[in-house]
Symmetry: C2
Subunit: 205 residues, 2 copies
């Protein structure tokens, strides 16, 4: 969106904001104007935070999670079960899993998933590090790739890759999400929820 008479420094900020996902030119314009209307300190603080973002945030050498040091807080944590590895696609998936506050194992981030259609093969995934961890003695590998065609293909690939290894392999459950009303769920989710129904535990009388 071109605005005649817009100052170049504002146009630069707006253009860069508009390159972010989900930010259209109108939203970028509103954000740029808001930053200009606020104090200079606010813009500088955001500038500062952006400058240190890549400098300070890297990936754990072992598991591939976000890490500010060589290893992430999960791999460094002595109270976590290091023989229980949850395999996810992206670093952000780890943050999502941790929101549940229930998993006490560690992670392995693949940094991608197989996508035969897009020509993305196994060589792009962080597999050598996972091979090493599995052969180093792991009890269970939880495949927590997404419930999409590509995520499912990746899970199948991993299950086959480690089928001869001395490790239990599991897949996160699928079915009706918490709070999900049947009315708004698709037929595939409902079919699977029926197929994979779990026996109700009877309370002893």
């Amino acid at each position: 969106m071109y605005f005649p008479g817009m100052p170049a420094p504002l146009a630069r900020v707006v253009e860069m904001l508009a390159s972010l996902p989900g930010i259209g030119p109108k939203t970028a314009m509103r954000l740029g104007l808001n930053l200009l209307a606020r104090s200079a300190e606010d813009s500088l603080a955001l500038a500062q935070a952006l400058q240190t973002l890549h400098e300070q945030v890297g990936f754990c050498e072992q598991c591939g999670c976000f890490a500010e040091q060589e290893h992430c807080q999960f791999c460094n944590h002595i109270k976590r079960d290091h023989a229980l590895i949850c395999v996810v696609e992206q670093p952000v998936d780890v943050l999502m899993m941790e929101r549940g506050h229930s998993f006490r194992g560690v992670y392995h981030v693949l940094h991608g998933r197989l996508s035969p259609i897009d020509g993305i093969g196994a060589d792009t995934l962080r597999l050598p590090a996972l091979d090493q961890r599995v052969s180093g003695g792991v009890k269970e590998l939880i495949l927590a790739t997404s419930a999409t065609v590509d995520g499912e293909a990746t899970a199948h690939f991993l299950a086959r890759r480690y089928q001869t290894a001395d490790v239990m392999i599991s897949r996160i459950s699928r079915g009706v999400p918490e709070g999900g009303e049947l009315e708004y769920l698709d037929e595939h989710t409902l079919s699977r929820a029926l197929d994979q129904r779990v026996a109700w535990e009877r309370v002893q009388p």
Copy 2:
């Protein structure tokens, strides 16, 4: 939104992005992750642009538009009609007006509008500069404040303020917006469009 295990530098960026209008915590998270996934240069470029934003963009001393120098490009423009002043509420309104490519006069930005309910009075508006311009010989003052209660009140206030001055005062027209379908317009707009109907110019046979 709190994510356990999120690196602090990322959390800082996300928090600041979430303070922008229309950016909720989930969107801020997506933007932060996107910036992290992109090259460090992208973040630095945005940081740089934000740093210079307030340094380089100020307001025109005469009209109050955005300006990178003492005066804006409109006040400096010799081909514009400096006796025709369009009064708007905010600097961004000037950018919107300029998109039409049809106005050849200059602007005056009030940097606000009267809002008796919020206790915003005439002393907060850029009026002394406008008084000076009007008394310095202006042909027409186009009141282009918004078509809201406050914008209308501000237009009334200005019309009264300059009623004895030697200047023609006009108000931008109101009615059905271009492309507007009657089905989706409110009754106030339609009433006004009927009241202020314009005679159709007959083509001479």
